[in-house]
Homo-oligomer: 257 residues x 2
DNA sequence: ACAGTTTTGTGAGCCGGCTTACAAAACGAG
DNA sequence: CTCGTTTTGTAAGCCGGCTCACAAAACTGT
């Protein structure tokens, strides 16, 4: 369990060239920085000139499944874009349980609090599958913010939206039973899911019961139990790392007990 | 308990003139909009021209102790500055318990997620003492953001810092015992406190045990109990609505059990 | 197909914290 | 000073959820 690999691999922008960890496998061969930037909606509206400047100060790295991209107390002078894979932002409690803050999907930004100040990171970023990450130096972003007000606003918006989400999550956890928490997190995850099968919709970041427990501050066993109940009640369908919401409205009734 | 007054009083900017709720009592007599803006560090660097434009599109209102400034599902087209008093941002669980998101002190901004999009509010803002609030229309802020990049960055920074704080709070609640939560929230509140008595420091927003419970998702009785224990152990001193941290380091040991 | 790993299922037992129920302080207003 | 309100203190009893302990699937790589 929890093979906690040492935090020897802090990701920070150095120069463009000496990217020793660049491994030209099937995916990164095809992928270039420009293509990655265009795929991230924060950067899609940039001019070619601006994009190019960004690329010059960005470095691409590969992270095998389960490796730590950054850890608490790491400097945090770059903002990261997930080019491929999936990343888990988490904390570790003193007794070793992992509290999951968020999942990052392809094309999404993370570690963006580095923009705010130069405080160290206060969470782990771990690749849950083989991932490739683009690191952009904060200074480069500052230049962009200065000359492009629209871009600045997009950043503000991103921070704001994520804050709203996490505040909702906090309210959905305080004072609520485990049953309510599970129903709540399922609905929350459903928002971010696009996959649909007819009327029913499946939670797209395929999660284990252990991970769900990490999201709501519960245990694996209890989550298994609650999911079982919800299935019996015909609200959801569960499979291995797969949850399909059958009765969305019924679930929202459960959250609000 | 919880006298839930109806949400008849949504605060939104109308015009400057017809401010029917303007009551020129001892405090608002002295206070003018300009003075209020200058006191909020977000606006302190504005030119006189900009400040004046802001004032024209801002409206001042008084809220007696315990009134609702805005409620969930309210439009949310303004950003608010607390000129005087204290405001509590909270949610209400289905069974009537209040989950406190944050306290707002004089000179601080709140309801600022209106900048991000025009989604309705998703929390209550309640004045815990008689308060006067300045409402600024979002459109006015947008103009400012466009022409003043530095201002834009300040907003981003504000959102980012608050997000970091709330993420920390989430991690400090998940998987943690009530004892750990109390110790954690005390340290968190201490950060925002300036009041000091020699070596010891007092939590400045004077909180009741009930409110502390609302912050960490616990009950009043349990909080009373835990605070009693912590006092016995010589880590803190408790009085009526008053908590003084004696052994800060000892407390941080408690949080990380 | 086989061995090892990951994920899920299930149950007994225990405990922290919630509930309920009072009561004593401490405070504020008149 | 007195009455009403707010805040805090305390304790018995109960229960949701955690712990611990296995075991059966389901998936992975070889």
């Amino acid at each position: 369990m929890l093979e906690q690999c040492g935090s020897e691999s802090s990701i920070e922008v150095t120069t463009d060239e000496d990217d020793e960890s660049y491994v030209p496998d099937r995916s990164t061969m095809i992928m270039n920085k420009h293509w990655i930037l265009k795929r991230c909606d924060l950067f899609e509206k940039l001019t070619d000139d601006q994009a190019e400047r960004l690329e010059r100060n960005a470095s691409l790295r590969n992270f095998p499944k389960g490796s730590i991209i950054y850890a608490p107390h790491d400097p945090g002078r770059s903002v990261l874009v997930l080019a491929e894979g999936r990343v888990k932002l988490k904390g570790i409690t003193p007794d070793g349980k992992e509290t999951i803050v968020a999942f990052i999907e392809e094309g999404e930004l993370f570690g963006e609090l580095a923009i705010v100040d130069d405080a160290p990171r206060d969470e782990f970023a771990e690749s849950v599958v083989d991932s490739t990450v683009l690191a952009i130096a904060c200074e480069t972003l500052f230049e962009l913010v200065d000359e492009l007000p629209a871009f600045s606003f997009k950043v503000t918006r991103l921070l704001g939206l994520r804050r709203r989400r996490i505040e909702t999550r906090l309210r959905n956890i305080l004072f609520r039973s485990n049953r309510q928490r599970v129903a709540g997190i399922l609905l929350e995850l459903l928002e971010a899911s696009r996959e649909r099968t007819g009327e029913e919709r499946r939670i797209t970041p395929r999660l284990s019961h252990q991970e769900i427990a990490g999201l709501i501050g519960s245990t694996r066993e209890t989550v298994t139990l609650v999911l079982g109940q919800l299935q019996l009640e015909g609200l959801i369908k569960v499979g291995r790392r797969s949850i399909t919401i059958v009765d969305r409205h019924g679930l929202s009734l459960v959250t609000n007990s």
